[in-house]
């Protein structure tokens, strides 16, 4: 699986949607928190990606351009910055075709927070897309947000069930990082990309996610993340 572990956060937001960070601030904070890389996944826009990538180059953080298709039926993160799918067209009837369009362009596609509290608290927070999408996704946020959130138990259960049925889905953690101020006492995880290489570029990071070379760290004690393989 790879001797080196590269710490990533694969689900982040900036002021280009509803986050509090500018792209620069996000990258600075990622650097401060020791991330090797992040994916910028603003809601329904990629307008902050160029700036984040540039700041990543300046500060030594690998930034994966991306987007979160924030639909009425579920949220899907698309990483790589290659596809140009119009998020407004994503619905239960079109989702598989559009996932495949994004993958064909070279992106990797994952289901975000499958069991987040949904409508009317967070529209699309709970996945309501047809089960057939699991055959077409590259990864699944098996843990998201605060690691002790009870909804993560449902997501981990579903992920393990999907794996036992033979689905080739990589596990990911998604903090859904909107701002730097952590809730007091909240615990967060990370996604580790596993590789024998000493450093990663964008293409290699995408390939590791696609090929299942991920590890979800989701038990965090005093900022020492203990990895548990899901």
């Amino acid at each position: 699986m790879g001797k080196n572990k590269f710490k990533f956060e694969l689900h982040t937001h900036t002021v280009h949607s509803d986050g509090a960070f500018t792209p620069k601030e996000l990258v600075e904070s990622a650097k401060k928190h020791g991330y090797y890389g992040i994916a910028l996944t603003d809601h329904n826009t990629t307008s902050g990606c160029d700036s984040a990538v540039e700041w990543g180059k300046k500060l030594g953080v690998l930034v994966i351009p991306g987007i979160e298709w924030t639909t009425f039926y579920g949220h899907i993160v698309v990483l790589g910055g290659n596809s140009k799918v119009d998020w407004r067209k994503v619905n239960p009837d079109t989702v598989i075709e559009l996932i495949e369009e994004a993958r064909a362009a070279g992106d990797v596609v994952g289901l975000a927070h499958p069991y987040r509290v949904g409508y009317p608290v967070c529209t699309g927070g709970k996945n309501q897309f047809p089960k057939e999408i699991f055959e077409h996704l590259d990864f699944y946020e098996a843990v998201s947000g605060e690691i002790d959130d009870p909804s993560n138990l449902s997501a981990i259960l579903e992920y393990n069930e999907l794996k036992s049925r033979g689905y080739s889905l990589s596990a990911a953690y998604g903090r859904d990082w909107h701002k730097d101020a952590d809730k007091s006492g909240a615990k967060y995880g990370a996604t580790y990309l596993l590789s024998d290489k000493e450093k990663l570029n964008l293409t290699e990071a995408i390939e590791l996610i696609k090929s299942g070379c991920t590890l979800v760290g989701y038990r965090d004690t005093a900022n020492n993340i203990l990895e548990e393989k899901i």
Binding site: V15, H16, D42, N44, S47, W87, V117, T123, P150, S151
Partner: protein
């Protein structure tokens, strides 16, 4: 110069729908200014707590749900986002929680929108109804061209 203006009413039957508002740009402009507002933002109906509680029940499984967790999500919000496109090209989306905003699109666009050279032709604003809890939301859109 104002080139488009409309006020529409959005009802609960519009929830999870995209509402297209087409307009034309027929002169040379360096930027478009879109002024967008909708109201009300907050939903404070007597059923708000129960609606939120049901959403928690749907994902918490057997885990206990505390009243404070549910209360922390109140008041619930209406949420209608705005996108701009020309033909099949999506120029950007303002996915944020403010219900009053001014958006510039041109060489240096507002956050959420890519830099865009304004061309003459057919454009459309899309209002995406992510959450419509109130019986009626009134949305107002104005588009101005600036040379």
């Amino acid at each position: 110069m104002m080139i488009f203006a409309t006020t529409i009413e959005i009802g609960r039957e519009d929830c999870f729908k995209h509402i297209d508002l087409p307009f034309k740009v027929e002169a040379d402009y360096s930027r478009l200014i879109i002024k967008y507002s909708y109201s009300p933002k907050k939903y404070e109906g007597s059923d708000a707590f129960d609606l939120a509680l049901e959403a928690f029940k749907a994902v918490y499984g057997d885990a206990p749900i505390s009243e404070s967790d549910v209360l922390s999500e109140l008041p619930l919000n209406n949420h209608v986002t705005l996108s701009l496109s020309m033909g099949d090209e999506l120029i950007g989306t303002a996915h944020r929680h403010a219900n009053e905003m001014s958006i510039e699109v041109g060489g240096g666009s507002s956050v959420g929108f890519k830099p865009y050279i304004i061309k003459k032709g057919s454009y459309a604003i899309t209002l995406s109804c992510h959450a419509v809890l109130s019986e009626k939301i009134v949305a107002k859109v104005e588009v101005y061209g600036q040379e």
